[in-house]
C-alpha cells in the first residue's frame, strides 16, 4: 500500500511540479519570438538570453523530477 502510494505521489510530484515551469517556458518562448520580430538585429543576443532563462526555469521542473525519484525510493 505504501509502495503504490509513493509511486502515485511521485507521479503527482512531477506532474504538478511541471505545470509552473511549462507556463514559464512558454512565456519565455513567446516573448523571445515577439522581441525577435520587433528587432531582428538583436536575434542572436536574445537567443542567448533566452537559453539562460530557459535553463533556470527548467531547473525548477527538474527539482520535481528528482523529488519523484526520491519518493519512488521511499
Amino acid at each position: 500500500m505504501v509502495g503504490s502510494l509513493s509511486v502515485l505521489g511521485a507521479g503527482l510530484a512531477f506532474g504538478i511540479g511541471a505545470i509552473g515551469p511549462a507556463i514559464g517556458i512558454g512565456m519565455i518562448g513567446a516573448k523571445t519570438i515577439e522581441s525577435m520580430a520587433r528587432q531582428p538585429e538583436m536575434a542572436g543576443k536574445l537567443q542567448a538570453t533566452m537559453f539562460i532563462a530557459l535553463g533556470m526555469t527548467e531547473a525548477i521542473a527538474l527539482l520535481g523530477f528528482v523529488l519523484a525519484f526520491v519518493l519512488m525510493g521511499a
Binding site: 542572436g44 543576443k45 542567448a48 537559453f51 539562460i52 530557459l54 535553463g55 533556470m56 527548467e58 531547473a59 527538474l62 527539482l63 523530477f65 528528482v66
Partner: protein, 258 residues
C-alpha cells in the same frame, strides 16, 4: 501487453550503472558508463589532434569542422558573454565543458552505447568543478571578504541583511546542483523515452491486427523523430551547460562593481 512491465523493468535495469568486470582495483571499478566516458575522452582527443594537425589559413576537411566548432564556442559563447579579454582567458575551461558534454551526449545516442553524462556522479562532479572555479575566480578578482560582502547588495536595510545573505548563499549552492541534475535528467529521461517507444514497437509486433499495426507504426515514427530530437537535445545541453558557466563566471568577475 502482459510483458510490458517486465520490459520496462529490463529497460531501467539496462540504464542503471553496472560494473563491467567483477575485479576491483581498490574501490575503483570500470562501469558501463565510465567505459563510455573513457571512449568519449579518446574520441575527443583524436578528433582535435587530427583536426589541428595541419593548421592553415584556409582549413580543409575535418580541420574546417574543428575550426568552426572552436570559433563557435570562443566567439559565440565566451567573448559574447565575457568580453574579448576575459573571454579568451576562460575559453579553455568553457570549451572543455562544452566538448566534454557534447561528445558524451552524442556518443550515448549510438545504439548500445551509454552517455557518460547519464549518471549523477559525472554531472555533479562537473557542477562542483564549475562551482569551485567561478567562486575561485570571484575571490581571486576581488578578495575573499569583498566577494562575500558582495552577496548583499549595497543599500540593503540592516534588518534584511541576514535574510539576503542566506538567500544568496542558497542560490549559489543550488547552481552546481541544478547544473548536474539538468544534464543528468535530460540524458536519462531522453533514453527512457526512446526505450519506451522501442518497447511499444516490439509489443505491437507480437500480435497481427490492424490496431497493433497502426500503434506500432506510429510508435516507430515517433521513435525516429525522437531520436533526431535527442541529437538536438545533446547540442542544447552542451550549450546550456557552458553558457551558464560563462554567466556564473561573469557574475563572479563583476560581483563587486555595483
Amino acid at each position: 501487453m502482459d510483458n510490458m512491465g517486465k520490459m520496462v523493468e529490463e529497460l531501467l535495469h539496462e540504464l542503471s550503472v553496472q560494473p563491467l568486470f567483477s575485479k576491483h582495483i581498490g574501490t575503483f571499478t570500470l562501469t558501463n558508463y565510465s567505459f563510455f566516458l573513457l571512449i568519449a575522452f579518446v574520441l575527443t582527443v583524436v578528433f582535435f589532434l587530427v583536426g589541428s594537425r595541419r593548421l592553415s589559413l584556409v582549413p580543409k576537411g575535418i580541420g574546417n569542422v574543428v575550426e568552426w566548432a572552436v570559433s563557435f564556442v570562443r566567439d559565440g559563447l565566451c567573448i559574447d558573454m565575457l568580453g574579448s579579454e576575459d573571454g579568451r582567458k576562460y575559453f579553455p575551461f568553457v570549451g572543455t565543458i562544452f566538448f566534454f558534454v557534447l561528445f558524451n551526449d552524442v556518443l550515448g545516442l549510438i545504439p548500445g552505447a551509454k552517455p557518460g553524462t547519464g549518471t549523477l556522479g559525472t554531472t555533479f562532479t562537473w557542477g562542483a568543478i564549475v562551482f569551485l572555479v567561478y567562486n575561485g575566480i570571484g575571490i581571486k578578482k576581488s578578495g575573499f571578504v569583498r566577494y562575500i560582502k558582495s552577496f548583499v547588495p549595497s543599500g540593503t536595510p540592516v534588518v534584511l541583511m541576514p535574510l539576503m545573505f542566506l538567500l544568496e548563499i542558497v542560490s549559489h549552492f543550488l547552481r552546481p546542483l541544478t547544473l548536474g541534475i539538468r544534464l543528468y535528467a535530460n540524458m536519462y529521461a531522453g533514453h527512457i523515452m526512446l526505450g519506451i517507444f522501442a518497447i511499444l514497437v516490439t509489443i505491437s509486433l507480437e500480435s497481427l491486427s490492424v490496431g497493433s499495426a497502426v500503434t506500432g507504426g506510429l510508435a516507430f515514427v515517433m521513435h525516429v523523430i525522437m531520436y533526431g530530437f535527442e541529437f538536438f537535445v545533446a547540442g542544447l545541453q552542451a550549450y546550456i551547460f557552458s553558457i551558464l558557466t560563462t554567466v556564473y563566471i561573469n557574475g563572479a568577475l563583476h560581483a563587486t562593481e555595483h
